[in-house]
């Protein structure tokens, strides 16, 4: 075991304090220090203890908002919400990324990785959009997200967004998808997906487009890097080719999801 001499001396109150100690006291302090460090090393190797479903449920009444509330509708970490910048009259997808989904780091990372690993443009677009709806609502975000984008994007991309939510619960060794520990943390280590998710999974396993949502989950898993530098710019061409931007602006084109875009644009409306 290596001892960091400076850290050890600092733990005793500095060199002056050490100079006042006799040999026996120094030896004892060193032994105590090593003991603590070894315990820390062993503890660091212990797997994290994840909560149970019951423990997570017991936290419900400790919050003033429900866990499923969209990101735009609650302050981060209990803080007050901030006034949002106004949207342009005919907002585009890029406007929503900059003014409502920002910083959107996770989806930008996910799409960047998809692009770098040579995935199709439909999958890359799905990665770019797959969690944007979390600004609006969180439960069943795959279905909500697909509904939000469906009028504007290829069918395969909407399929990938809708079903990535389901496939996140099921590891796929061949595709390189591990069940993430963050799911033990947020759902509980003893969580089992509800019946509709299991039925959806069974359907997907035999579907010809299985790999589309699966590839979204693979890129999803690797897109939680706090130091990654990403931007919307590299995706302008893919968005230009595959996202049917309405000339009236998102929210004002009378599409089946126009109301969802308006809600994202104006989340402070009381009714």
């Amino acid at each position: 075991m290596e001892i960091d001499r400076r850290a050890f001396i600092a733990s005793l109150g500095g060199a002056a304090a050490v100079n006042l100690m006799d040999h026996e006291a120094k030896a004892e302090a060193l032994e105590h220090y090593m003991e603590e460090k070894l315990d820390e090393m062993v503890a660091a190797q212990q797997p994290e203890k994840f909560p149970t479903v019951a423990e997570i449920e017991a936290q419900i009444e400790t919050r003033n908002v429900r866990r499923g509330v969209g990101g735009l509708f609650a302050g981060r970490a209990g803080a007050n919400v901030q006034k949002l910048p106004p949207m342009p009259a005919q907002p585009t997808l890029k406007d929503f990324f900059e003014l409502r989904f920002a910083p959107a780091n996770h989806v930008l990372q996910s799409a960047t990785r998809a692009m770098k690993t040579g995935m199709s443009e439909e999958v890359t677009l799905a990665c770019l959009l797959h969690d944007c709806v979390l600004s609006l609502i969180k439960p069943d975000h795959g279905w909500w997200g697909a509904q939000l984008f469906e009028p504007y994007i290829p069918e395969k991309s909407a399929f990938a967004i809708r079903y990535h939510q389901t496939l996140r619960f099921y590891a796929d060794d061949d595709a390189g998808y591990e069940y993430p520990d963050q799911y033990y943390r947020i759902f509980g280590h003893d969580y089992t997906p509800p019946a509709y998710i299991e039925q959806t999974y069974k359907m997907l396993k035999n579907h010809k487009w299985y790999m589309e949502p699966r590839l979204v989950t693979v890129n999803d898993l690797y897109a939680f890097d706090p130091n990654a530098k990403v931007s919307f710019e590299p995706f302008q061409d893919i968005v230009g080719r595959h996202f049917k931007q309405p000339k009236e602006g998102l929210g004002f084109d009378n599409s089946p999801s126009a109301h969802m875009w308006r809600t994202l644009a104006r989340p402070d409306q009381p009714l």
């Binding site: 190797q45 994290e48 390189g176 993430p180 898993l221």
Partner: protein, 145 residues
């Protein structure tokens, strides 16, 4: 105290057995030399690409499983031509193949890097070889199970 140190140390060893010998460097593909530097066992594994970023997501084993963590040092020569690379695989003593979730992304962006590839294997699996593209790297001397 010394008994406690030994117990703590033994517990640490049970969780992560490390062999620190190295295999000789061999090209995984033209201009990319790879050397297996370490084989460890652990209950959890960090999910990072290669070269690694700071992804915060981990994977956890189920009962009866462990992660074989194979660390590889890479050196990129000026002759290296970036191209998509397959995910590495490992084989056990009976040539059963195991996959990793870790993927090569942006190889060549830095001249030297080290990656730890996690392979989910049954507890006690003896590793035989690591495969990167068309090159096999012997793991038997590094893997003390």
């Amino acid at each position: 105290m010394s008994k406690r140190i030994l117990c703590s140390f033994a517990a640490g060893l049970m969780l992560a057995v490390v062999a620190s010998a190295q295999t000789a460097g061999k090209p995984a593909m033209p201009g990319l030399e790879a050397t297996v530097t370490k084989v460890e066992r652990a209950a959890t594994a960090s999910l990072r690409d290669c070269p690694p970023g700071s992804n915060t997501v981990n994977a956890t084993t189920r009962p009866g499983e462990q992660f074989a963590l194979v660390t590889v040092a890479f050196k990129v020569a000026s002759s290296f031509q970036p191209a998509p690379m397959k995910r590495p695989t490992i084989t056990d003593a009976s040539d059963k193949k195991f996959n990793t979730a870790a993927t090569f992304v942006d190889v060549g962006k830095v001249p030297e890097f080290s990656c730890t590839f996690p392979f989910r294997v049954p507890e006690g699996t003896r590793l035989k070889a690591l495969q990167i593209e068309n090159t096999a790297y012997d793991l038997t001397s590094l893997d003390s199970k």
